[in-house]
Amino acid sequence: MPVSRSKRRRKSPTGNAAQRRVGAAAMPTSRRSAAKRRSVFAERILADDVHTLTPAILLFLCAPLLVLLSQALRHTYSFGELGFLLPFTVYDVALATLGLGVLCAGLASMRRFAIVVTVFCGTLVVCLFRFVEVWQAFFLPHDLDTQVYLVTPIAVGLTGVALWLPQRVRFPAALVLAVLLGADYTLFIGLQDYFNDLDTFGIGALAACAWILAAPAFLLRHFKRPWLTIAGRILGSWLVAIELLIFAFAKIPITPPTG
């Protein structure tokens, strides 16, 4: 049976490197040294298995291109398009979802990464398309409808803290956060007027949410884990700082600044 191109690559991970070395030997000295510098740079930053790097980059570029196109062209917005744009405008939750993506990118296996994305999308689908039932079953009986504003700071802060957790507890933490952030996004999407009768709005929003979690994480999986740890800690500190500020703003009586 003929071996496919991707399988061949997986079976001989050093094959490409050997070809590059042969190719580099035929180059002039200046170009060879430049290529060597590039390869050293790539070795320091990129993970060993990068055969899905190109699709990851393409997937990552999809949404920014669509958003740019949507903003650049003068047109009447469709409801699906409005739904797609909405999750990007909920900045704190979008940043927290990106943080969850960084957490996912550092998970040991692709299978665990896929499970977290599935749980996130599943929570969104269930909560969005059964929004009224979930609201009536969970929020109203416990008088939580007046405390809804606390969901976002809690979700954002917990995501920030989770990015500092040791490797062994990151997977369960990512699962909990996937549910929490999915439910939090649902509040923003489900409470929009457009959502009441228009499934296309919800589908657009769902696609954007899935992209925010999966696409950057899929790209980041191609980087070495120590870099992800550093990125995660920096992003985690941002999320905790944002959460504290939002929480303080919600709780502290505001007085005009002096001076």
Partner: protein, 217 residues
């Protein structure tokens, strides 16, 4: 970069630690006394209608005083290497939000402009001198000055149309300036035996002196 980056909690062998001279302690005490005795000031506090994310994002970028200090934090961390590469940029926003909360609450805080100007001078001088400060001291310096920057941001937050988005904007912009500082430090830090970083430190000190003169005048 002078050290190496490791995963999780592994400690990188620390460079030889400089002994803190007594005169530095005296100067630091004097500076703290100066802050406590000076009048309240409003450093780079924009008044009038403000939006959300864009206004917050714009705030650190529109004021070179904030920008230079935050850039210097990233550059200094990269210059020191090891854990400091990420420890300083992580500490800054966390403590900055303490200043932000003080600003939101409207607590009168003296010497904000002086604090920000001094932060630029001290951080620039540390880069210029290629000072490998002990970890606790570097964190203390960064944390101390982060409060002043946070206050200036936080004082504006209640005026924003969307305070949550405003907070996200200024924290993200701050963090990105740190990341740019780290990137410059890691990419160009070794050029001409570190003279490029030190020259940048010198320029930052000069800018800090300009802001200090403006703050005092």
């Amino acid at each position: 970069m002078t050290g190496t980056i490791r995963d999780d909690d592994e400690r990188v062998p620390a460079p030889p630690r400089a002994v803190l001279p007594r005169c530095a302690i005296s100067i630091a005490t004097g500076v703290v006394a100066w802050f406590l005795t000076s009048d309240p000031a409003s450093a780079h506090i924009v008044t009038g209608p403000m939006g959300g994310f864009a206004s917050g994002f714009e705030h650190p970028l529109s004021g070179p005083d904030h920008l230079l200090a935050m850039f210097a934090v990233g550059l200094w961390g990269a210059q020191m290497g090891g854990r400091q590469v990420w420890m300083l940029p992580v500490t800054f926003p966390l403590i900055m939000c303490v200043g932000g909360v003080l600003g939101i609450a409207g607590v009168a805080m003296p010497g904000i402009e002086l604090g920000i100007a001094c932060s630029i001078i001290v951080l620039g001088a540390a880069i210029l001198a290629e000072w490998k400060a002990p970890e606790w001291l570097a964190l203390l310096i960064v944390a101390f000055f982060a409060v002043f920057h946070g206050y200036a941001h936080g004082a504006e937050l209640p005026m924003a149309a969307d305070p949550a988005a405003y907070a996200v904007g200024f924290v993200v912009a701050t963090g990105m300036i740190h990341v740019v500082g780290i990137a410059v430090g890691l990419l160009f830090g070794r050029l001409y035996e570190g003279r490029v970083s030190r020259a940048l430190g010198g320029l930052i000190v000069l800018a800090g002196l300009y802001y200090l003169v403006n703050a005092v005048a």
